[in-house]
Amino acid sequence: MTSNNKLIISYSFIGLFIASCSSVQVTEEAVYEDSIQSIEVTSSKAESSTPIESKAVLANATVYFEFDSFNLSTRSIQALKSITNLMQDNPAIDITIAGHADERGTREYNLALGQRRAESVADYLELKGISRSRLTLKSYGEEMPMTLGSNERSWARNRRAEIN
């Protein structure tokens, strides 16, 4: 690899009038550019080990949140009660809780917010006696919206935690 070869020589000269002092910048340089390698990856996501028959029950378990909030609403708690019962009745079922955010705000903050939403759900389940070892938590931030659209209705549907 050739490195940037830059040579700068400046010189001054005094003209007929002493006050007019000036300088010319003389440079020589070579364009430098690295090569670029493109790569492609496909998803290496592990598939959920939840038995198929119970998935149908769990698939609908989504709870919703207010903007910049990770507090569970009473309505969310109602939805989580059925999850609690199902998990208590079926000790073999492990679940994944994925937190999401709406498109407003920054992507990284929303990733953290989604995580807090998943944590809120996990905290509730743990309070109801479900072992933390049965729960996998993650966040998609604003990256996987349920519905597209920049309006209150879409945002409300996207601020969620999905359980399956």
Binding site: E33, Q37, S43
Partner: protein, 425 residues
């Protein structure tokens, strides 16, 4: 406001998904320059003048006299008649020549003449790479910019950004590298899962980013020229928001192993982790100060996202809060001269890019659309690129501190997450 579509539109070899440049606004008191068509026989002289034009106009600091307005076309400095250019109110004249062509190794020379001082102020030679005439042109633009403004130019720098391209129900997520003008776009990583938060190493040879390809946010480091990449940490937890220290030895990250987003510093040589924040609220989006002595981050500890700074030179200091206006200030980064920070600010339910100088007690909004995010500052500190979410599309736009604005509209897909490289020349 008059819109000026640039010559770039006429450039050959533009790929479909490539970004096109549009200047929406210039500064109010620009340097007025004339670029005399370069001498030389090939089509490369046209490309050089076109790229020079768009590069200089995009900085917002230059007015370039239209070619048809030139009263004469001096071949050498000696042929310049200063009074003729004074009439046109021209401050500087750029003259140049492509000395040798691609087969024998591209070489161009250029000179800058100061009309007011009636003297030559620069005489330069640039050796190019065959087939990369635009790159050579960017080097000339930066030389012209430097001689006239005294600031380092950024035409020969690069941008990273992510594009989401829908295909049926699924999306492809592509991390691109392109020249600072959006041309010469090349794929660094193509994935079926989201990619966010691309960041440059200080030497601009490596990048870090968050990829969801394993089903969970993870930070990878990728070598640009070899394509070799690796996970920065292997564990079962989510990791995000990478930022290199200015010396390239450390990487700040957001780890979620405590059940909450906290900032850690990873030593890239021995993989030692040092915890930086400890608070039950969200702490993320860390950025290093230009000298590497402070870390700026977003925290929810006041009840809403605000920007805080930790001094790394003092043991166990409490973070100090930097933003107080409004209930959403996030994703900050320092100006390279450490005079202030640029960040996302929420105002009247709209998200804009704002600037706060440390010696001022108010913030300056820089943009005015509804959902602007992800600001990234040019290495000379003069331009800020950011992402505009406009209905269901996304594009990259820029503003200069002198008040000029431009957009790089995507022809395809939702472009976002721009990240500006360091100086490359």
């Amino acid at each position: 406001m008059m819109k000026l579509f640039l010559m770039l539109l006429l450039m050959p070899n533009l790929l479909l998904a490539e970004l096109l440049l549009e200047i929406t606004k210039g500064s109010e008191n620009p340097y007025r320059i004339a670029i005399i068509p370069f001498q030389g026989s090939s089509s490369s002289v046209n490309t050089i003048v076109e790229v020079l034009n768009s590069d200089l106009v995009r900085t917002g600091d230059f007015y370039v006299l239209k070619e048809e307005m030139l009263l004469s076309m001096p071949k050498t400095i000696e042929e310049i008649n200063p009074s003729e250019w004074k009439l046109l109110n021209i401050d500087f004249i750029v003259l140049g020549e492509v000395v040798s062509e691609e087969n024998s190794g591209l070489k161009a020379t250029y000179e800058i003449y100061d009309v007011n001082k009636k003297t030559k102020i620069r005489s330069s030679t640039v050796f190019g790479i065959p087939g990369r005439i635009r790159q050579l042109s960017h080097y000339i633009s930066d030389g012209v910019y430097e001689s006239i403004t005294g600031l380092k130019g950024i035409s020969a720098t690069k941008l990273l950004y992510v594009n989401e391209i829908k295909n049926n129900l699924d999306s492809d997520y592509i991390l691109y590298i392109a020249d600072a003008d959006g041309a010469n776009e090349q794929v660094l990583l193509k994935s079926t899962e989201p990619i966010i938060s691309p960041a440059w190493s200080p030497d601009s040879k490596q990048i870090a980013y968050v990829s969801f390809e394993t089903g969970m946010a993870k930070v990878f480091i990728q070598d640009i020229s070899s394509g070799k990449r690796e996970l920065v940490l292997t564990n079962n937890n989510q990791i995000s928001s990478p930022a290199w220290s200015p010396d390239g030895k450390l990487l700040s990250l957001t780890l979620y192993q405590d059940g909450n987003a906290e900032i850690y510093i990873l030593n890239l040589q021995n993989k030692n982790l040092t915890r930086l924040t400890k608070h039950y609220s969200i702490d993320t989006e860390s950025r290093w100060s230009p000298k590497g002595t402070k870390i700026l981050f977003t925290s929810g500890r006041s009840g809403s996202p605000q920007l805080y700074e930790i001094d790394l030179t003092k043991f166990n200091t409490k973070p100090s809060r930097l933003t107080f206006e409004g209930n959403y200030n996030a994703k900050g980064s320092y100006l390279p001269n450490n005079e202030g920070i640029v960040f996302v600010h929420r105002s009247n339910n709209e998200f804009q890019i704002a600037l706060k100088y440390f010696d001022e007690n108010f913030i300056r909004p820089l943009t005015e659309s509804k959902m602007d995010e992800s600001p990234s500052v040019s290495p000379n500190g003069n331009v800020i690129v950011y992402a505009i979410t406009d209905k269901e599309s996304g594009m990259i736009a820029g503003v200069t501190l002198s008040g000029a604005a431009f957009v790089l509209p995507a022809t395809n897909g939702k472009v976002r997450e721009p990240a500006w490289s360091g100086f490359l020349r």
